[in-house]
């Protein structure tokens, strides 16, 4: 197991390097730059800007300097667009926010999704099954960009219970709507995966044997069915967790949370090379780590899997 983990981590290094180089080149290949505006900036002003940010150097040199700073100092450089700030500061401010609402939303999606899915599978073809399937389909067809404005309309404008946006770590009022809007569609997917996987497991041979032995249903589920049924769910959860904690543009856009998602999109639109690279690298590293974590969980749950 330990050799497996070490092997995976070693492979991760070239993967991240490739990620950095490819995204760096792609980004610089996009038309326009951070200082392209509809205002005609005189050439002498543009030259000063490019000199300050090193854009007057050839691309390979730029990449070399960038790699050196990132690898040796973990320094992502200054933002090209947010003139008073560095990328590290942007990340230090926005990532904790996204991590907070993302992790809570993830927990909510897993707990509600798995319970719904299990309930539906165990009471297959009953009222509970239909209800659970109905809820999860409903949640699936309500993407967060539809959910968010509806939530604000109901809870801010009509009921006046919750603030329509903003962020305070200490006040749960600000966290409720982003969490619900982010969690619903993930919750629906988790519920559906859980349900179908559980149904499959319940019709498996070893469950039939357990039933024939006369074991009570509760014991069959907790001891024999749950673990194997969770395998597909877990492989879905790895990337989902990363997607949720690295931010949703929609959530940041509608709730003005100040999270990382909106920075990512704006950086791409503004050609803020350094911010975009910083977030890309961070998401890349997190994705690799959580996929590894999912694989470890896999092996722990399923004795058939040995690395």
């Amino acid at each position: 197991m330990l050799t497996f983990i070490i092997k995976r981590l070693v492979i991760a290094i070239p993967t991240i390097l490739v990620l950095i180089i490819v995204s760096f080149l792609l980004m610089h290949a996009a038309p326009g730059g951070p200082f392209t505006t509809d205002r005609a900036i005189p050439p002498e002003v543009l030259a000063n800007l490019e000199a300050k940010y090193g854009l007057d150097q050839p691309l390979y040199k730029l990449l070399g300097i960038y790699l050196k700073n990132v690898v040796l100092h973990f320094d992502f450089g200054p933002s090209f667009v947010y003139k008073d700030r560095t990328v590290n500061e942007v990340l230090a401010q926005s990532f904790p926010i996204t991590l907070t609402y993302g992790a809570i939303a993830f927990a909510l999606a897993v707990i509600v999704g798995v319970s719904l899915g299990l309930a539906a599978a165990i009471r297959h073809n009953s009222f509970w099954d239909y209800l659970a399937v109905g809820i999860s389909i409903g949640a699936q067809v309500l993407p967060n960009f539809v959910m968010a404005p509806i939530l604000v309309l109901v809870f801010t404008l009509w009921l006046g219970w919750l603030p329509g946006g903003g962020w305070e770590y200490s006040d749960p009022k600000f966290i409720i709507m982003p969490v619900i809007a982010l969690a619903t569609s993930f919750m629906a997917s988790i519920a559906r995966i859980t349900r179908s996987s559980m149904l499959e497991v319940l019709s498996a041979n070893h469950i039939r044997t357990a039933r024939a032995k006369g074991l009570p249903l509760r014991r069959i589920i907790t001891h024999h069915a749950l673990k194997p049924a969770m395998l597909p769910v877990i492989s879905y959860l790895g990337p989902t967790f990363v997607a949720m904690i690295t931010g949703s543009v929609v959530i940041d856009l509608f709730f003005s949370t100040g999270g990382m998602g909106l920075f990512f999109v704006n950086a791409a639109l503004n050609r803020d090379y350094s911010v975009m690279m910083g977030i890309t690298i961070m998401v890349g590293i997190l994705t690799i780590l959580f996929n590894l974590l999912a694989d470890i969980l896999y092996a722990w749950i399923d004795p058939k899997i040995r690395y």
Binding site: D38, G165, D252, T257
Partner: protein, 553 residues
Amino acid sequence: MMNYRTVLRVALGALLLTLVLGTPAFITLVPANSAFAAPALKSGEKLAKEQVFTYRVLDDIKSFDPQLNSSVEGANILRDLFEGLMNEDPTGKLVPGAATGFTLSADKLIYTFKLRDAKWSNGETVKAKDFVYAWRRLANPKTASEYAWYMELMGVKNANEVVKGKVPPEQLGVRAVDDKTFEVTLKSALPYFASMTVHSSTFPVLQSVIEKHGKKWTRPGNMVGNGAYVLTDYRSGEKVVRVRNKHYWDNANTTIDKTVALIINDESQALTRYLAGELDKSDVPGGQYPRLSKKYPKQTLRFPRSCSYIYWFNMGKKGPKALKDVRVRKALSYAVNRKIIVERILQGGQYESYNFAHQKTAGFKLPKVGYATWSQKERDAKARALLKEAGYGPGNPLKLTLSYNTSEDHKKIAIAVAQFWKKTLGVKLTLANNEWKIHTTNQKNGDFEISRYAWCGDYNEASTYLDLLTSYSGHNVSGFSSPEYDKLLAQSKKLKDPNPNYIKAEAILADVMPFAPVYQYTGVIMLNPTVRGWPVNNLMQTWYSREMYKVAK
């Protein structure tokens, strides 16, 4: 008090006028230390207990550094945190700011500003050297400000050479004669120079603070300003909070205690939060003015805004052959039914446009451009005739591409225009939608046929528009070049009344048609009816929190 102020205002206006008209050699402008901007409570009004003004901004603030900021939203905040030499009053008239007034030398090249007794938010005195430091900083190549060109635009002596790095910043045409006297030397006379000192890139900054904190000097707590407010909280992507600066010279006449900018990207979300009472001011989403003004007549405001929307025709080297023919360009422009665009699509009281400069620009008399006076039927008939003359018709239809950047409104207008051109002229128009950076890059490189553009005035004077079409302007992407036009604009800088030149220049544009004017902007906002003092009559929408107040319901 009120009367005193009115008298002063009138006097200042008259003096400014004399200055612009340029008669006497040395004029002292304004008496010292007068409270110009303090809001006056009208009779029957009672101040609300809580004086907090909350408004929506679309995008995150990119910088709080006056010399590095390049956005309008940033400038709105900077005007609260810092104060430049001159300010604008709610009608857009120039009034004293950090300076009590200025004098101009006989050759009109040297402006001498007298500074008032004012303090920085840390208690230090505002001195002329702070302005010298800030202006040099703006031009200094090391600062690499995107707005360094503004110093060149103002015509400050040696600005261009400093930006190019040919001479050190110390040789910029500014100096501190003494602590209270700031002197600017211009390269050549510029009648509206003083009004350009309202711009946030010319605001003073304190050298000691910048040197102490470096890049972090703009953080709340570090920042020291000379404006009516200080920055107390900034959460990127969420909000900006500023509260009263007790050291501000006119703090006694300031009413709003706290101003909060909420960063809300989505405009309907912003509207919902406005309606829920979280905001005092928000924007009316495109096309919703008729509905909202009916439902909330006391809360919807509409006023002219200095921007002009056009379609560039590429008549240059890379442009299509058809657009090199003036008859084609004219036909296309004539066939745009501006009334439908303004009344059916935008629906916010925008102005149909047949010229370039915004018609409400100060001192600008809307020229009677020929085709503006015709009916649309006449324009369509003329357009058909012109296009036929140019050799296009059912057998040989004109094929063109119209590019616009991603936005619902641009798309709607482009679709409407494609319809007008198809129905009236049989033009086969392809619509090309590009993301902003690609759109502007294509425009600059001349890689377009017809391309959407909008220009917003930098200052309230028609040359901010008309200078764009000079052959030496970096903005002139159409390939239009007219020595006569260049001459008219160059000459206008020295004239007592430049307006006849502007009218002639507009006539040339209507004659050559390097672009089709489409519409001129209005601002449409939702404003809490308890908020008073929003400068609806200020075309540039230059606003200051200290000019507003909230009344009790």
